[in-house]
Amino acid sequence: MVEIKDKKEKKETPRPVIAVGDGAAIPSKEDVGLFTAWRFSFIGAIAIVAYLVIFSPDPYWRILKFLPDGILVTFQVTTASIVLDLIIGLFTGLGRISKNRILSGIASLYVEIIRGIPLLVQLFYIYFALGRIINVPAMASAIIAMAVCYGAYMGEIFRAGIESVSSGQMEAARSLGMTSSQAMRHVILPQAIKTILPPIGNEFVALLKDSSLVSILAVSDLLRRGREFAAESFNYFETYTMVALVYLIITLFLSKLISIMEDRVGANR
């Protein structure tokens, strides 16, 4: 899903890299074609929304007024999931590289199982499994489900990031008397973060889109709000046009934001 290349290797042998994520493509300045495609679709989407709302306020303006609650929920689910997801990812990543057979076994098993089951099935499963054990609000169990599903991928990102730091760094830290967790915290992870940040940004956008799946779990996110509106008004086509455009604007905006953030991180070392 995510390919992290060793920087040195990249410099010496410019092997072609197929980098296909499931997030919206994050535009970079070098990639001129995508950059203009980004502009075209972003400005285009906003223009279409404006056009529809102004020239055909019924139903488009009514739809647009109906959606913000859902947008908020979508952001809440996404943000909470990504935070939980980062924690799960860190421990999964550390588990995967652990010399302790049991820890690395558990982490690998988790990754294998999660990657082998469709996200929608996992969502249903965790949602209803949680419901049998404890009574948690729909929102909370949707967040947990998303985080658990995405944690496996995040774990792989962390693992690859940690492994991208040269082994000499760990040896130097250990030779100074640091324990392996001190070395991880003070030496390895701060260096891994730089490699990890771009794919995390990608994951965030991908997670935001996939969060639309929670609309089947009684969580009133953006998509569900659209469904509710459509069911009442029977304006299915108009509603889903609006929903799609709003998703598109949000993900394109976030992709841009992330690419700006990456530039900053790259610039100040």
């Binding site: 130097a172 008397g177 640091m178 324990t179 001190q182």
Partner: protein
């Protein structure tokens, strides 16, 4: 020169280390005295780096005992981190921390491991930076430094722990020729202070000037040992002569 009481700082007894089928260390026994300057030479793959790295357990030995300052590090009960605090190590590839400034590089383990206050650590760091001659780079990041400067940071970083032993694993092999001198100068200066030093190097000039004893290794075993003079004037073993002819 070895100090007065001639106590043993590092003792290796019948040490074996395998990498798969390869015998990296083949029945190595060796005493290094407190304050002794020992230079290890030998062709690549002869086991000299492995020997060095086994002293602070970056390589775990498969058989035998290594006793450092009275503590048997091959004993699984030993807290290796405690022992490593007393053993400084300098690597061929410097391994300075690129995300920290020069000063932070040297402060880090002092604060995290030795539990010194930040202020105290910074004072020690500055003193050491003066000693290795790069105090003006204190607030630079390592990527702004030359290889020779980075290696001197690495030496200062190891010294900041106030170790009893310093291990040098080919400290000048990755350096451009014009920078080798500055690093060897620092090492020579350090040697005069009485710390125990074990150095893997091909710099025979350094060995001649600093070493109390030179050990020649090949195929994981100690082939010949003696004073630098012995190696320059009349080495006995054929393999030693062959090797010295190649590098001198």
């Amino acid at each position: 020169m070895p100090t007065d009481n001639n106590s043993v700082m590092v003792e290796m007894r019948e040490v074996y280390k395998y990498f798969g089928q390869l015998k990296a260390l083949d029945n190595v026994s060796l005493d290094v005295l407190d304050g002794e300057k020992l230079v290890l030479i030998g062709p690549s793959g002869s086991g000299k780096s492995t020997l060095l790295r086994s002293i602070n357990q970056l390589e775990k030995i498969d058989h035998g005992h290594i006793i450092v300052d009275g503590i048997d590090i091959s004993d699984p009960e030993t807290d290796i981190n405690k022992v490593r605090e007393e053993i400084g190590m300098v690597f061929q590839s410097f391994n300075v921390f690129p995300h920290k400034t020069v000063l932070e590089n040297i402060n880090l383990a002092q604060v995290v491991v030795r539990k010194r206050s930040k202020k105290e650590a910074a004072e020690i760091s500055r003193e050491l930076l003066n000693k290795v001659g790069i105090i003006e780079k204190a607030n630079e990041y390592p990527d702004k430094l030359s290889g020779g400067q980075q290696q001197r940071v690495a030496i200062a970083r190891a010294l900041a722990m106030k170790p009893k032993i310093m291990l040098f694993d080919e400290p000048t092999s990755a350096l451009d020729p014009e920078m080798i001198g500055e690093v060897l100068d620092v090492m020579t200066k350090l040697a005069k202070e009485g710390i125990t030093m074990i150095v893997v190097t091909h710099e025979m000039g350094f060995a001649r000037e600093v070493a109390d004893r030179v050990i020649f290794m090949d195929y994981g075993a100690i082939i010949e040992e003696g004073t630098p003079e012995h190696f320059f004037k009349n080495p006995i073993q054929e393999r030693t002569k062959l090797f010295l002819n190649q590098i001198l």
